[in-house]
Amino acid sequence: MGYPDYMYESIKLVEATRPRRAEMAKEGLQKFLKPLSAEEREKVLRDNHPDYQPEARKPIRVGPNKGEHLTSEVVDILERPSRLPRDFKLEPVDYETDVLVIGGGGAGCQAALWAAKNGAKVILCTKLRLGDANSMMSQGGMQASVNPGDSPLIHYLDAIGGGHFDNKPELLKIMTSEAPYIVKFLEELGVIWDKLPDGHYQTQSGGGASRRRMLSCRDYTGAEIMRVLRDEVRNHPEEITILEFLPALELIKDEEGKAAGAVLFDMETGQYHVVKAKVVVLATGGFGRIHIRGFPTTNHYGATMDGLVMAYRAGARLLHMDSVQFHPTGAIYPPQIHGFLITEKIRAMGGQPVNAKGELFVYPMEPRDVEASEYIQECKKGLGVRTPDGQYGIWLDSPLIEILHGSGTIERAFPAMFRQYKRFGIDIRVLPMLVYPTLHYQNGGVEIEENCHTSVPNLLAAGEVSGGVHGRNRLMGNSVLDYNVFGRRAGIEAAKLARETEIKGRLNVDHVWEYEEELKGEGIETKGYSPLLLPEYRNLESLKRHRTEFDPFAPAGL
């Protein structure tokens, strides 16, 4: 393992320019390289960013956002019929509860905890194990204005500029002003933040932030927070019932049109389960596994946009679902880690992006969309490094970090990254990493207001599934913050709402059939169903002798 021999030709060139680039870094890169001007940015985005390509978006023909241009792959999945059979009966009811939380990531755990704290009985159902979620994977950190030279207002300004001024101001105000409280809340649960000897937080800068505001827990930030939240949820067995390996398939409503539960689906046995609930909190996360424009992804296996589909059918409006976040630095070699995230912190600490000739060709701290576009452009120009399976990447020169900050820094600050590459025979203390942009984050989602209400009564949403707080581009460290702030608010609001709610009349899934009628009315016939529940990676060859009638996941058209 390790890099194939032919790549060492290019690695030699990288090594040859390294001492000079180290000097440049010490003097300050700004002296040698300028960030792009507004016009240059616009051009590199237009020519290279996947969102700006002609087929990237198309109008959706049905539902609350009818006529709006959304990301094409999103439209394709939304315009599919449900997995429920037409003669489906919502009887018997298997579970009854005050609050049903769908999704066992960070937002779901916060919501369950706070609903329980506020007196509600909670069921939390999730697709895989509790904590198998994007929340477990964040490396870089969480933003909060915990330093004297910073303030919630500056945090607000950074985030709204980063979001191209499309963020919903009232949501952003809540997120930025509650951030320091979240730091304290998590610490009181036992989260171990990286700290200075005097007890204050270690903070880093991040793309688009004008202050040091990124709190971290080594490069296992998400794992540390997620496992503490999970442990705390499990400390409340009386109030919170956890249902693992049981994804939701469709929402249920009462006769007044309020959300009143969900149909769950056991992927192993094929059985349905009906949950009746006074309030539903959607916390199903994002969509990386739908592989927009064929990009690999950093997301976990279950990130298939299910919650968005269920909510849309139930009549919830979506916001900003025309923009996708590609992270500039995904691994492109070795193939076993294709698409995996290389944290932005590598660049923050001096790891430079260089081309096949060993040239530093871009200012390393452009906003994510611009930085990603520059890498794509460099590869198009033929200055990328070819992988054995014919793709191209650029070098991220990690050994510089050891030169700039002293040897041992990589193992100390990036244990996860170091381990990841070591497993495949590459020592990133001495060898650079080969990277290319990867699909990372769902910027938009189900539109929410301050207390996480969607446009469907008694349906709340929080975390990556929701839309509004980040506008059209999220800054690093703001989504861990987002799921904590709004997951908590959703839990509090859900408990309150449950006390005031009475489920009226017959439980039904009529909205699912009405949506299908609308599809028919538009003459839309598609293969396959949604929500997807799981992505498809089986080798099609192996499915040739497949009995599709036994497989709810059989790919369309097999």
Partner: protein, 228 residues
Amino acid sequence: MTQDLIPIYIYSRKYYVPEGSTIITALEYLGFKLKKGVGCKEGFCGACASLYRLKGDYKLKGGLGCQTVVQPEMQIVQIPFVPAPKAVYKIEELQPDPEIFVRYYPELYRCLSCNTCTKICPQELQVMDFVQAAVRGDFEQVANLSFDCIMCGLCSARCPAEITQFNVAMLARRIYGKYLMKKSTFLEQRLKEIESGKYEEGYRELMSLSQEELKNRYFQREIDFQIT
């Protein structure tokens, strides 16, 4: 590109998969639809614990399915999760006192120092050492040594003393984070500022700006990476 196929055994049956596959991608290549035993696919969640034996080796080995490259004649099974007792406690009522291990995980003291846990840990953690640190009541050391634990469960599946190392470490880290780490004094001050409404006027002003004014404010904002 043509890939060489190598033989492996999954749940005892022989199959051929491309060289360089991980356990997870090998399963997918063969047509298994993974519904358990997979999570992040990137080595962060511990959902994909697997056991295997290599040809001619008497040792039973463990690894992460998403990170372990298959080898010829490897025998593989997946362990979607390891059932493990987890203490239920109110963190706010605990004390940073070694007694809590006696109360919640008494089996800890049965550790035989056999080092089996350390040998199998896919994160290459010094598992036995953090178990011993817990026995001594050294919360800080447990926290440091166990920090990169992804709770895959392999250690406890193999432990002859039936210890759930990862849950012991979870408890120790939470105690350490909550009670033993030095607190930031400035955080309290910032929280008071927010609570007292110090920033309300600023928010009102920012939120009343026109798009144009807001843009100017943003592009002219000062960039300062000093901490104080």
